[in-house]
């Protein structure tokens, strides 16, 4: 594995194998976010307060984590539709299964991470080992998980331990939102991951699976791990969503399918695999959440938000695809 970079360098399709600093996608997402933030703040009556900051981070964090998970799979040239089912399942488990004890938030976290990882392991096994198409396999997992969520809790309701609903949604020392700290931790974990053999291998598989295999990348294992990590991220996203809404809903994750992929696209991650970044997707998620807020504050009717989400997803992908086509044209 350590010789991976040397072996793959001459192969034509593997230019994306090394995590080069591709600031473009992330930078564009950040610029859009900044513009939206300016509009949003201008329409706010008061100055930027800690409460407002908490609000922005708390609302964006669940989607940001879910999108981060999806990115791991997209990088390896796959799609993971199980995000919707796993988020819903985590949400209903947290309001029904963990009780009220002092350790409840921690056991809850362990539970949803394990459930997510298990769903991811099933996905990874179906896709990496049995060779099923990722969309088909993960469609089945998401249907099963949504069904299980309905079995756990068949109507919205329930409550969560105060630690989750209050402390996690508050600020550290009254200044930095806890959600911002968690977002930073995820971002740091990603920056470490993409410099490890595993991270490099994920890019390599996405760019050209065949060359990666020839270069000695354990394709199946890396893909399996990517799906497992992604599943745990959906579990964590469900955890933060439950802290935010402080209640259970068996359909809580349904909206996440389109939103997470829109976030991935805005963040500049290529749906063809091998290019992109988790941080881009997280900024993309923040952008989408802020877009909803701005549209709402501008008095746009709520159904337009759905239309806007769909259009944003398609537009982001089209721009990305055209950009890639132009880049490919420039290289050859």
């Amino acid at each position: 594995m350590s010789s991976l970079a040397n072996t793959t360098a001459p192969a034509p399709g593997v230019t994306g194998a090394r995590p080069r600093r591709r600031a473009d996608g992330t930078a564009i997402a950040a610029a859009i976010y900044a513009a939206l933030l300016a509009i949003f703040l201008l329409r706010q009556p008061g100055p930027l307060s800690v409460t407002l900051l908490e609000d922005l981070f708390n609302n964006a964090l669940p989607l940001a984590i879910a999108a981060a998970g999806c990115t791991l799979v997209v990088l390896t040239r796959g799609f993971d539709l199980s995000v919707a089912g796993v988020v819903s399942l985590s949400n209903v488990l947290l309001v029904t299964a963990i009780g009220d004890g002092p350790w409840a938030p921690l056991t809850g976290l362990a539970l949803v991470l394990a459930v997510g990882a298990a769903a991811g392991a099933v996905n990874g096994f179906l896709v990496a080992v049995l060779g099923l198409q990722s969309v088909a396999a993960t469609l089945c997992t998401t249907i099963v998980c949504s069904g299980l969520a309905l079995l756990v809790l068949d109507f919205p309701g329930g409550y969560v331990p105060p630690f989750m609903a209050e402390t996690l949604m508050g600020s550290v020392a009254g200044v930095v939102p806890v959600a911002a700290v968690i977002a930073a931790l995820v971002a740091i974990a990603w920056m470490v991951l993409r410099r490890t053999d595993l991270g490099v291998a994920m890019y390599a598989i996405g760019a050209d699976e065949h060359s990666a295999a020839l270069a000695g990348v354990p394709v199946r294992r890396v893909r399996l791990i990517a799906y497992c990590l992604a599943g745990s991220m959906y579990g964590l996203a469900g955890y933060m969503l439950t802290a935010l809404t402080a209640t259970g809903d068996p359909n809580a994750g349904n909206a996440y399918l389109i939103l997470a992929y829109a976030a991935v696209a805005i963040g500049g991650t290529s749906f063809a695999g091998g290019r992109g970044s988790v941080i881009g997707s997280m900024i993309g998620a923040a952008t989408l959440t802020l877009l909803q807020k701005v549209l709402f504050s501008l008095g746009v009717l709520s159904f337009f938000t759905g239309i806007a989400e769909g259009l944003v997803l398609i537009l982001a992908v089209v721009i990305l695809a055209l950009g890639e086509r132009a880049a490919r044209g420039a290289r050859t």
Binding site: T141, V144, A149, D208, H210, F303
Partner: protein, 354 residues
């Protein structure tokens, strides 16, 4: 699916040379692609399972297993069957249409709102609704075939857009009149069967002719088997793909129209329950999600089997959650069975050049 992005001229030169000829030839020749034994036996097996299920249901309730119930199941299966036709056409070229639920709702709402109760209005109303829904499908196809966006992304987005637009236009409560003429499809009887049953038989026959006896049909299998080989053999890959998505949109719209005839109304959630069964029916009926395998006889038998299954499950009073879990497991099992039959064709990543 992952192959869509690497369509046509987007590929690096020389890559096209690495195509396995024996697979690629399937469907391009002058004859319809030969059916394997499995493809021939599958519809029979599915029908046998349906009959066994119906007979077995006599134990659950004395009302079950009667001739009336058989007719009721055939009538109820009309919606899944029609949506599954479109879904299968898309799957044959290696795609997937997640927008069918929303487009079906759109078809129902337009039918309910535009056409209303007058029988004369049906003459222009039905073609108009079909044209609108097919246009939505064609837009999906355009984005997929011309821009190269993955089908699941495009149809997910268009599904949300169509649904939100329907929500906005109707303010949540579609207004209109039910068409009496449409209702006769379900309420009247010709030779002991509701007219819609004859419509379904006609659809199955037409679909089989389209898939197995026309140039267009052969192109579907050629594209689904190998997009590159089909392109080299002169198949208009993009145009055919767009046509498939247009058919899927139109079929979903037709299911919406039928639903208005059946229920006498339209709601915003009328299509929701039909996305998963449409994929399930096609897959159980032997359609490969990678494309190039399966025909509508199998998918139609799959649709009837699924409807029988859900009718019995509903009668047993089993929770909705279990039904979804079973659906997921059934699709997965069918996928795995198909996969073991063609282990060489995998697209977990890029198809292996060897």
């Amino acid at each position: 699916m992952s192959r869509i992005g690497s369509d046509g001229g987007a590929r690096a030169p020389g890559e096209a040379a690495s195509i396995e000829p024996p697979v690629a030839v399937r469907g391009i020749g002058p004859h319809a692609p030969p059916r394997t034994d499995r493809e021939r036996h599958l519809p029979v097996a599915l029908c046998a399972m349906t009959i066994v299920l119906i007979l077995a249901s006599r134990w659950i309730s004395p009302n079950f297993g009667s001739w009336d119930q058989v007719i009721a199941i055939l009538t109820l299966s009309s919606f899944v069957l029609v949506v599954a036709f479109g879904q299968q056409m898309v799957m044959l070229v290696g795609g997937l249409d997640l927008s069918v639920a929303s487009v079906m709702t759109l078809g129902g709402i337009l039918m309910f709102g535009w056409v209303g109760g007058s029988p004369e209005a049906l003459l222009w109303g039905i073609p108009a609704v079909l044209a609108v829904t097919a246009a939505v499908g064609a837009l999906n196809g355009l984005a997929i075939a011309l821009v190269g966006i993955p089908p699941f992304v495009v149809t997910l987005a268009s599904g949300i857009i169509v649904y939100s637009a329907a929500l906005g236009v109707t303010q949540g409560a579609p207004r209109g009149t039910a068409s009496e003429a449409l209702a006769t499809l379900y309420r009247s009887s010709i030779l002991g069967l509701p007219p819609v049953v004859y419509l379904l038989v006609a659809l199955v026959a037409l679909a089989l002719v389209l898939q197995r006896r026309t140039v267009f049909g052969r192109r579907l299998y050629a594209i689904g088997t190998s997009r590159e080989a089909a392109h080299i053999a002169g198949v208009p890959v993009r145009r055919t793909t767009i046509a498939c998505y247009a058919i899927s949109g139109g079929a979903a719209g037709a299911a919406g129209i039928l639903m208005v005839g059946f229920s006498g109304g339209a709601t915003l959630s009328m299509g929701q329950a039909y996305l998963v069964p449409s994929v399930a029916a096609a897959v159980i009926g032997g359609t490969s999600i990678l494309g190039g395998r399966g025909d509508f006889l199998g998918a139609a038998a799959g649709a009837v089997l699924l409807t029988t299954f859900s009718t019995i499950v509903a009668a047993l009073g089993v929770a909705e959650g279990w039904r979804m879990v079973t659906y997921g497991a059934v699709i997965l099992a069918a996928l795995l069975l198909l996969n073991t039959e063609f282990p060489g064709r995998r697209t977990a990543g890029r198809p292996s050049p060897r």
